[in-house]
């Protein structure tokens, strides 16, 4: 087993930083093995050349993840984004030890993924979790609490606390088989947090939630980070990821397309967008010259004003050309745009463009926050 010097030996710090997420005193420690190495500002999750190939049939293999390098630092919200089938969930499974890498290594809290020591400090929220249908929400949380070694009054207290946290206190008696997707997701989150983990892995945490629910989850994620926890989340709902995460990795077809702080990735995309109708041909030509990109769609002229060009000059052009301005404003490139750009760049290299990218394109069009639910449905895994 490889040992990471920067991981081992970092002094344990108090992880209980918030009023809501107090680490229970009796949470079983790793019996007598000394202080658990709590990661400081250093790497909590590390993937090195992580590759996973699935055998399909007749010796054919598909590479679900190719040589992924990744480092998640302590206390950050890290997002892995990518279309369906890009290898996000595979990465999570590898990190949880549910599957074994074909090549490369993964370490979580300095331990190999299947180590139970690591798992005591991990919380995992799967995508669309499916719990024992006969249990109600409270029982589910208690069940996972018991799996983590919690018992008796502590378990009850912890359960109450978490149910309150995810807003399920009043609906704790609803049996899982009758829970809505959102309720299940909340219970899933509560179950994942029952052992007060240092690292929380989330797979599509907001899928199936209404906008308010999604917003709450986002808030909660941020609170977890503020409490000193590390959050790794996978999502194809880029809008939401964008708002909360610190760093991201964009995966497409198992390959890492982009990786770094979100600001860096979105940096190049500060442009001004202009949409107008009834623009004279001459004016349109002028605008096109000022734009990095322009096209006419349904009579509307869409222009992306170059950074070195003066956007107000472009406005004048529209006015002088007798056009009518529909929209004008600076657009910080959304993660979607970055994502699509990255994907299409990669797709250009790869002759066989997948339908996944087209699907995601559809999602990307619907960027408005109010359209989330629809977007989520459209982007649901095939």
């Amino acid at each position: 087993m490889r040992v990471y010097p920067e991981v081992i030996g970092v002094a344990s710090e108090s992880s209980g930083g918030t009023d809501t997420l107090e680490r229970p005193d009796n949470l079983p420690q790793d019996g007598g093995q000394g202080p658990v190495p709590v990661v400081g500002t250093d790497t909590v999750i590390e993937c090195r050349g992580l590759t996973k190939r699935y055998r399909v049939a007749l010796g054919y293999e598909i590479e679900a993840l190719s040589s992924l390098d990744l480092q998640v630092k302590r206390g950050e919200i890290f997002a892995i984004v990518g279309p369906n089938g890009s290898g996000k969930t595979t990465t999570l499974k590898l990190l949880l030890g549910l599957i074994f890498p074909s090549e490369g290594d993964a370490f979580i809290l300095g331990e190999p993924p299947r180590s139970r020591r690591a798992k005591r400090r991990i919380g995992f929220v799967p995508e669309g979790p499916f719990f024992y249908q006969h249990m109600n929400g409270e029982e589910v949380v208690r069940f996972y609490g018991r799996l983590c070694g919690l018992r008796g009054r502590d378990l009850r207290a912890r359960t109450d606390e978490l149910l309150k946290l995810v807003g399920m206190s009043k609906r704790r008696d609803v049996v899982m088989s009758q829970c809505s997707k959102g309720m299940v997701q909340r219970i899933g989150l509560a179950s994942a947090l029952v052992n007060d983990p240092d690292v929380v892995l989330m797979d599509e945490p907001t899928s199936g939630l209404d906008p308010i629910g999604a917003h709450e989850i986002k808030e909660l994620t941020v609170r977890l980070r503020d409490a000193g926890k590390t959050v790794l989340l996978c999502s194809h709902l880029l809008e939401q990821v964008e708002e909360v995460c610190d760093r991201i990795a964009i995966l497409h077809r198992g390959s890492r397309l982009a990786y770094g702080p979100i600001d860096e990735i979105l940096q190049i995309t500060d442009q001004t967008e202009l949409v107008a109708i009834n623009v004279s041909e001459d004016a349109a030509r002028q605008l096109a010259a000022m734009s990095s990109e322009s096209h006419t769609r349904a009579g509307e002229l869409h222009c992306m004003i170059k950074e070195d060009a003066d956007p107000f000059q472009a406005l004048d052009v529209v006015r002088q050309g007798g056009g009518e301005l529909l929209r004008f404003g600076r657009v910080r490139e959304s993660l979607e745009d970055a994502f699509i750009r990255a994907v299409t760049a990669s797709a250009r290299e790869d002759a066989a463009i997948s339908t996944d990218a087209a699907d995601t394109g559809g999602t990307a069009d619907m960027t408005g926050g109010s359209d989330e639910a629809t977007a989520e449905e459209g982007g649901e895994e095939a």
């Binding site: 190939r53 055998r55 293999e61 074994f100 890498p101 074909s102 090549e103």
Partner: protein, 535 residues
């Protein structure tokens, strides 16, 4: 492959562990088979179904049964067959369907004694009664049943009740008390080996054996049996009663017989029979005594009496044996047979047919004469005129033919055991027609059993000594010489012209005490009293 590349040691270790576990598993499997073997040896499990199912006609097994069988529902398959057989039996009584189902049940669950027991019983009793001469002689069915029971014993050597059933069948249907005793003793042995079992009552066997000894005319052995029985069951009333009766009635005669003091023995028996003419044991003993005196006719009469009163197969067997012996002797003597055939038990059944009791005790019974008549061939010209002088066993080529009763007594005519004319007043001529030929017993119609029974009116009966002249049995043999000149008409005589020719019976003679299997008890039915058969 990728697994091996990635985690070669771990995976190959896992595979090794798996292989090792499978190896251990095979050993455990062997142990399982060994355990099954022990279980079979210990008699608490059945061996493979392969062995037992091969006897079953597979076409008789429905798909359900086969499916159930191979799904491990062997016992259920057997139950299903059994249930089906019971259904067929109750609804249709159609043996070709009932029997294979029963056999299938036996084969599928051969370790359940009741299946064998009931199947054997059905064969020996119901099948024998319903099918008799239609396919096979009755005895063949009985033997078939016994064979079934004995097969059952091969599988269930501890099944006390099957031993009992075989014993009983030998005794009841084949008149073989000695074999019955053998089986009853085996049953007792098995029972004692399996001491501690409470599901059978052990009382039956010693009683049964004792009865068999009584039937065999061996009261001393019976007494020993009862003594054994009473050691275990001191308060058994049957044992007590029987012991008293045997001591009182038979023991002395028996001992006298053992010491060859035959006259003394006979005297004792006859004295006893005077009081109780229907006493089976006494009749049996008397018959044996007569036989040892070479008094065939005396023995014949005693056996007949016993057989008639008790429907006693044992007596019947001896009756048949003696009849055949008489027949053989007469054939030698006269150059012509008394009966034109070997008397079988089937025929004897007709000869010993229960007497009509409709008229009650007022009508004393007569002795019947059975004629076994071969019917005419259809194309044969009739050499006989409308009236014939026939002998028992004659072939009659006239259709129809007649029999005249000139005996001076009333007579009844039976064909195939069915009464066709009753209370005829002599002289009487009875006409037999073709449609009478097919009787219940002779579906083929190839032969015909005619029985004429003569009656002595009750007012006349008073005049007859209440005795049964055994020599009358010879009458048919003498009859041709005596009767033919006296009666020119064709006559079937049984002592016609001689009042003693018919066997007059005591009306309600010796209404006995207890009935049933208790020894020494006499029948309340009119019994063939016989005593003073001295010449």
């Amino acid at each position: 492959m990728q697994l091996l590349k990635r985690r070669p040691i771990r995976v190959s270790l896992s595979i090794l562990v798996c292989l090792g576990l499978v190896a251990v598993l095979i050993q455990v499997g062997r142990f399982g088979h060994q355990v099954q073997h022990w279980r079979v040896e210990a008699g608490i499990a059945q061996p493979s179904v392969v062995a037992s199912i091969k006897d079953v006609p597979l076409e008789e097994l429905t798909g359900i049964v086969l499916g159930a069988l191979f799904a491990g529902f062997r016992s259920q398959a057997a139950n299903f067959c059994w249930w089906k057989s019971q259904q067929y039996w109750e609804e249709e009584g159609h043996w070709p369907r009932v029997l294979p189902m029963m056999k299938a049940a036996c084969a599928l669950d051969p370790y359940f004694p009741e299946f064998w027991e009931v199947t054997g019983w059905h064969e020996a009793y119901n099948l024998a009664a319903e099918y008799e001469t239609r396919h096979l002689p009755q005895d063949e069915y009985v033997k078939m049943g016994i064979k079934t029971l004995e097969t059952g014993l091969r599988y269930n050597p501890q099944a006390v009740q099957i031993y009992e059933q075989v014993g009983w069948t030998y005794r009841d249907k084949l008149g073989d008390p000695e074999t019955a005793i053998r089986y009853a003793r085996q049953a007792a042995t098995v029972y004692h080996v399996r001491a501690g079992i409470t599901k059978q009552t052990p009382l039956i066997q010693p009683r049964f054996v004792a009865h068999m000894y009584e039937e065999l005319g061996k009261p001393e052995e019976a007494l020993l049996q009862y003594q054994e029985l009473m050691q275990d069951y001191p308060s058994d009333t049957v044992g007590i009663g029987a012991t008293l009766t045997i001591r009182d009635r038979y023991l002395e005669a028996y001992r006298a017989m053992q010491t060859r003091d035959l006259d003394a023995a006979e005297e004792r028996l006859v004295t006893h029979l005077t009081h109780d003419p229907g006493d089976k044991i006494a009749l049996h003993m008397l018959a044996q005594l007569k036989e040892s005196q070479s008094d065939t006719y005396g023995a014949l009469a005693a056996w007949e009496a016993a057989a008639m009163v008790w429907k006693d197969t044992f007596a019947q067997q001896h009756y048949v044996r003696l009849l055949n012996e008489v027949n053989r002797r007469q054939t030698q003597l006269r150059g012509m047979p008394f009966f034109d055939m070997v008397i079988s038990r089937k025929v004897a059944d007709y000869m010993l047919l229960p007497r009509e009791t409709a008229t009650g005790a007022a009508m004393p019974r007569g002795m019947g004469v059975a004629l076994y008549i071969k019917p005419p061939r259809a194309d044969a010209p009739s050499p006989l005129g409308p009236r014939m002088d026939i002998q028992p066993g004659d072939e009659i080529h006239a259709r129809p033919f007649e029999l005249a009763n000139t005996s001076g007594c009333e007579a009844r005519f039976y064909v195939h055991g069915r009464e066709v004319a009753r209370d005829t007043t002599p002289p009487y001529t009875f006409t037999f027609t073709d449609d009478m030929r097919a009787g219940p017993g002779t579906a083929s119609g190839l032969e015909m059993l005619v029985k004429v029974e003569f009656f002595v009116p009750s007012e006349q009966a008073a005049g007859y000594p209440p005795r049964f002249d055994l020599r009358n049995v010879q009458l048919p043999e003498k009859a041709p010489t005596d009767a033919r000149p006296a009666a020119p008409k064709p006559v079937i005589t049984s002592g016609s012209g001689s009042p003693g020719g018919t066997g007059p019976m005591m009306p309600g003679a010796g209404s006995g005490a207890a009935m049933g299997m208790a020894p020494g008890a006499s029948a309340p039915t009119p019994s063939a009293g016989h005593e003073g058969h001295d010449h």
